[in-house]
Point group: C2
Chain length 454, copies 2
């Protein structure tokens, strides 16, 4: 018999991992709900017509396609088959694919339900997505995304609330050392104009986005290769290297940009977001203007965000931004929205590295009832029922085995308390109540035991 | 531009449906956890070698297969391609499929992790599954299953606890009129022997399983066609038509079976389950012995369950049973287990029909802050923060629009309370706090408003 395996790049989440994942997801969910976001779920499979063309050519390559049911080859062109043209045939034998992200299905949902939706529409969505990427550390073929978006308003309150939500999630997760980096597409445009990058904007953005990783000299080298002049590079790095608070940075670039034709929308938007945060009574802690932040996704048109946890190997755990025309591709133009996403797997890895998962989160069963014989097992059923009636997650060891085996089970399952019942306990009604961590044991009535959980 | 659509048999769950679904799932989860079950999640895609051959030929046909990435036709036999042999080629161009249920992935997980798992292992799993069935009312191509299983023990306590869990879930969902039908494979075997069905058992079970739907005469007709003698049919219906309590039924068949060679394990197991329920202080309400219950799945070997909600169009919402060799197919024999599953979609439909969803479950945001102008909007931010600091889910209308539009938004989103702020409210600090259901409005300070939520 062949040993069963998992498909490459996919994972099982057993009880220990699930407890930690649920700790993260429950906290994120609570914050989303507290801010008025409502849940949405879309199907794992979407029509390929919905998915293709939305993620660039590379993205299209990474889509998992689902084979049509039944006699899928029937209507396929025989010549195509003979030529073994995989690319050409893929769409003939497959009309559905697994979702690649939650954003495109959300846009599709908004367009299909535009007449029923109450705008501004705040939705959150926590579901797995699938990408046929080459698996690597922290890169999986199935992973969860955790999105929150508001569509149908261009109010900058939404940007401010995204900052507040990120702060609240991190507070709940006890992550302290992190930066919410913000930039604005209009600022990037002005920067491009200033650096004479017309027609070459994306090379500029791609290069400066790597500044952190490859350093100033390599970015310059790359831009020289792309035809940027020395004057442009001087201007660029004068701006990139400017040190100061977010306010000082904004004023500095404002002066610089006054020589360009572009409007100052990016800067005024940014200042308004800070101003609004202030209105909530929140300070600017963790918020950082980062003009080098570009983020690849072409649909962003306003503020863009990225959140980095400092001093861990994989820092970037969240990102997002404003888009003015996400639903346009499905025939509904002019719906402005802003959203962001938490990468659960990366948050998980970072929290493991920082040892931030609380022990309590990993406890499922609170009490295990162990027993010496059939009589005490039966006696234990009523005790078990009393615990459960008081909403205490508890169980009884189902088989009649040695007491040590039952206690080992409790330890392995991280059950913090056991009740051991034998003939003496049945007679006196005083049960042996043991704290499995400290080893401390008391003889207590079931009522007293229930009291300790109140 | 083409209008986007959903793949056949799949659905979006918008906020209103999600709220109801979460109400069901949260309650089921809480009960599972209270009984010591721990969460497991497995990937959507499994190797086809894991999935095929486990669901019968029909099941294999219904598996969604995922096209291999890259040049999937490269190594396919040219002749096979020319002959357009879809069935023959499917496994050449596809090595992964979407999971068809949660039981086979669970068995695969247990086998792969047998050295790390602490047995008896109680796991629950709530995830979607996919089947390429022809879509129909209450039959979807993507739907959730909600399983709980214990493996590594043959203790009948597990059967008793399944009954208790079903009762507790239904109590929480406020479903009152339902039956937990129980039978035992050994009882069915004895029945088959008594009816001289040797070699023809499954015809017998399939036929009696339909008794409810097609009636006595049609079952008899079907069995005559299958070669059952009139004597057998008389014996059969003497048993099927016996009226009485579960105890009386068990004694009746016990007498009947004493003429057969088969052991009485089914009956003693059943009596022990009732006896154990009694040990928990639970009565037999809702529990019903149903000798006609057969359930199709061939891997069951002990007790089998099915739960029906009475007086609704789709009654059967849960089922399960004991299996002695689920993991055997993956090379790990002799692991006895018992499990059951809730059909979330059917529970949902039944609860809608019975109007059982509480209004509270559908409330997400508790308070909406509405405002007359930019100043009062800004003033509202601090009020909003105060609400959220007190864990009250709340939001502010993000745009500056007419007050009526803001209140309409609150009504459509089912927000139960609004706070309306204008210049007068800002001056006095007395905010207009409105109950959107009753229309009642009070002028209160933010502190007093916070108090009403305590």
């Amino acid at each position: 018999m062949e040993k069963p395996t998992l498909p490459k790049g996919t994972r099982d989440f057993g009880p220990a991992q699930m407890a930690k994942r649920q700790f993260i997801l429950e906290n994120i969910k609570k914050v989303f709900q507290k801010y008025g976001f409502q849940p949405l779920e879309t199907p794992a499979m979407e029509n390929l017509t919905t998915l293709t063309g939305k993620y660039g050519e590379e993205g299209d390559q990474l889509l998992f396609k689902v084979l049509n049911s039944g006699d899928f080859l029937k209507d396929v062109d025989a010549e195509k088959l003979e030529s073994k043209n995989s690319k050409g045939i893929a769409f003939d034998i497959s009309e559905k694919g697994l979702r690649y992200d939650l954003t495109v299905p959300f846009a599709r949902y908004v367009v299909m339900n535009r007449h029923e939706i109450t705008f501004p529409f705040k939705r959150y969505q926590i579901q797995p997505v699938w990408r046929g990427d080459r698996p690597a550390k922290s890169r999986y073929r199935e992973f969860y995304q955790c999105d929150a978006d508001v569509v149908g308003t261009d109010s900058l309150l939404c940007e401010a609330e995204i900052v507040l939500m990120i702060k609240e999630v991190f507070k709940r997760l006890r992550i302290e050392d992190y930066s919410i980096k913000i930039n604005h597409r209009a600022i990037l445009s002005s920067l491009a104009e200033l650096c004479e990058a017309k027609g070459n904007e994306s090379s500029l953005f791609v290069a400066i986005d790597k500044l952190d990783k490859i350093g100033e000299e390599n970015v310059k080298e790359e831009l020289r290769g792309r035809g940027f002049s020395e004057t442009s590079l001087i201007t660029l790095f004068e701006i990139l290297n400017f040190k100061g608070s977010t306010q000082q940075k904004l004023e500095f670039i404002s002066r610089k940009f006054s020589n360009t034709t572009s409007e100052q929308k990016g800067i005024t938007d940014f200042k308004e977001v800070l101003n609004l945060l202030n209105g909530y009574g929140a300070n600017e802690a963790h918020v950082e203007f980062d003009i080098a932040l570009a983020r690849g996704l072409s649909y962003y048109t306003g503020c863009i965000f990225e959140v980095k946890i400092n001093n861990v190997s994989i820092g970037s755990v969240s990102g997002g931004g404003r888009y003015d025309n996400l639903t346009g591709v499905f025939g509904l133009p002019g719906v402005s929205g802003v959203g962001f996403s938490f990468g659960v797997d990366r948050l998980y890895d970072a929290m493991e590295e920082l040892k931030l998962f609380p022990q309590e989160a990993q406890i499922s069963t609170q009490v295990l009832i162990a027993h010496f014989d059939e009589d005490s097992k039966r006696y234990g059923l009523k005790m078990l029922q009393a615990l459960r009636d008081n909403s205490i997650a508890s169980e009884i060891y189902p088989d009649s085995v040695k007491i040590q085996k039952q206690l080992d089970f409790a330890n392995k399952k991280m059950v913090p308390y056991t009740i051991v019942i034998g003939s003496e306990e049945m007679k006196s009604g005083l049960l042996a109540f043991k704290n499995m961590k400290t080893g401390e044991q008391q003889k207590l009535t079931i009522e007293k035991i229930l009291d300790t959980f109140k």
